[in-house]
């Protein structure tokens, strides 16, 4: 069943995602084009105060999932349970205060701010909009926010293009926490930053989580970073969660062949990747009733192309969706995963 969150029963989770399906593009009348299924029955829980990593390559659906739970996309099916409401079916106008609770940090810091307004203006807007502090003290609050993320008050009067990527990402963190949210979705927040700046931002995010107890959904393709920051990890492959569990467990004892490939890709083990060099298409009658990793999987057996594997519990809090999971303890210790 659904893996349990850190120490708490599933029903205590702040947000519960159940069987979420998202198709892009309505089926065309004149063509047989299938809509693109970006999310394929995704279920997971987000506990308060935890850092959950969504790990995968491009096309895995990790960014789409992050944005969907914030309400950026309307799911085709499924439920997103939060604060007693189902966000999946909530009309845009009824979100109201919920918008405060759910915030986002984007991948490219420069384009996440309106270039025509100063930093002060961009930070003041949410404060005013949600009445976070009385009108007179907005300036002071902005300065305090900047200080909290390690920036000086002189940055307030600057424009986005005058700040570096790292500085802007700090402002993005400031903006996200300014409304005192309960969940922040961070979409690859350090991918576009220089190596020496990444540490600064990662530390900042961790500190915010420890200080305020805000939950963080951390989307990344970088396993080393995920291992440092996240309490739990969900590995995604083309719209499905293939493995989920506590970070230590997933890294030390991966059960899904794809997870193992990802881990080995970053180590120096030669010929480590267990896939074919190019996808030679195999015949699958109904992709919806098959494992979506099967075409690339060297461990594939007959049932993999005929049935869809469900997430099955391998260990406490650790599940994977595979008919031929890696046996416990066979994976070599994955050392040397550098950032």
């Amino acid at each position: 069943m659904i893996s349990e969150s850190r120490g708490a029963a599933a029903s205590d989770a702040t947000m519960q995602v159940r069987e979420l399906v998202l198709d892009f593009g309505a089926p065309q009348r004149f063509r047989n084009a299938h809509p693109l299924r970006a999310l394929d029955s995704v279920s997971l829980d987000i506990a308060q105060g935890e850092i959950l990593g969504l790990v995968g390559e491009s096309g895995s659906g990790k960014t789409t999932l992050g944005k969907t739970i914030l309400g950026a996309y309307k799911p085709t099916r499924g439920r997103i349970l939060y604060a007693g409401r189902d966000l999946a079916t909530l009309p845009p106008g009824s979100w109201g205060l919920l918008r405060r609770d759910l915030q986002m940090i984007f991948q490219d810091p420069l384009s996440s701010f309106n270039p025509r307004f100063t930093i002060e203006s961009s930070l003041a807007l949410p404060l005013r909009l949600h009445g976070i502090c009385p009108k007179g003290s907005v300036s002071g609050e902005v300065a305090a926010l900047l200080k909290r993320v390690g920036l000086g008050p002189e940055h307030a009067s600057r424009y986005p293009h005058e700040l570096s990527g790292g500085q802007l990402q700090r402002v993005a963190v400031a903006r996200a926490i300014s409304v005192k949210p309960r969940i922040i979705v961070a979409d690859e927040p350090v991918s576009k930053l220089d190596v020496s700046v990444r540490a600064q931002i990662l530390n900042l995010l961790k500190r915010m989580n420890r200080e305020t107890g805000v939950s963080l959904v951390f989307i990344t393709h970088d396993l080393g970073v995920a291992r440092f920051l996240c309490d739990r990890i969900a590995v995604m492959y083309f719209g499905r969660i293939v493995e989920i569990g506590a970070t230590d467990q997933v890294f030390a004892d991966p059960r899904h062949p794809y997870t193992l490939s990802l881990l080995r890709a970053r180590s120096a083990v030669p010929d480590a990747v267990i896939t074919d060099a190019d996808e030679v298409p195999i015949a699958i009658a109904d992709p919806a009733q098959a494992c979506n990793y099967a075409p690339r999987c060297a461990r594939r057996i007959a049932t993999c192309t005929q049935n869809r594997p469900a997430l099955t519990t391998q260990d406490k809090g650790h599940s994977s969706a595979c008919f031929v999971p890696i046996e416990a303890g066979t994976a070599e210790r994955t050392e040397g995963i550098a950032s």
């Binding site: 309400g71 950026a72 918008r99 984007f106 701010f113 909009l129």
Partner: protein, 274 residues
Amino acid sequence: MRAFFANKLAVIGAAVTGFVLLAVIAGPWVLPHSPTEANFLALLEPPSLAHPFGTDSFGRDVLTRILYGARVSLAVSVTGVLAAALLGSAAGLVSAYVGGWTAAVAMRISDLLFSFPSFVLALFLMVVLGFGIANIAASIALIYLPLFARLARNMALVVKEEPWVQAAQLMGQSTFSILTREILPNIAAPLFVQIAIGIAFGIVIEAGLSFLGLGVQPPNPSLGTIMADGREYFQRAPWVLTLSGVAISIALLGLNLLSDGIRDVMDPKLRARL
């Protein structure tokens, strides 16, 4: 600002336009002659000290008539173009952001209007609406509406995909706030350029309509009626047509240079990137 003054053509454009505006606004108070009173003792006189542009077939001072006429032309053109800019841009913005059936229908109507050559459309509208300067302004507005709508819509379609717009949506900003704060300022520059160009063309349209007798009615001066008059008497008094034509050209040139200048300055400059 500094960049604007560095662009020589833009400065020339601004200067010429400024001069024209000054002449048009202040001139009539300075010059002693009346634009409409006939003076049969001084018919078709060549340029002289008393009459720098000469007199027309009714003995009226051409320069005075040009300045009064320019007032009318500018007022009509500016009103029409500004109306088009405001309504058209708003329509384009909303249709880009909100989308849906109404937007699609609105854009198709706009395309329809847009497919007519401007002057033909102007003529048609004048016949339908009747003569008079208010209707000229309305025609100019209707002619330019589709242009602004399409321009605003195309740019808004691009800008609305930018992450900062998504950030605003996720923050719970109202649609109005997103349209006016997040999108509009980032599409404004080309719209301003288009306004300057539009005013120039508006003057031409008004002059053309008045030239044909569909616009400003005699004895009121309009750049168009002056030119019509000048054309009739071209053999005997070429200065009327020539000089009024030159006056219009200078004004248009100034506006065009100015609009080019605005465009150059507001375009993101290519800086050397390391």
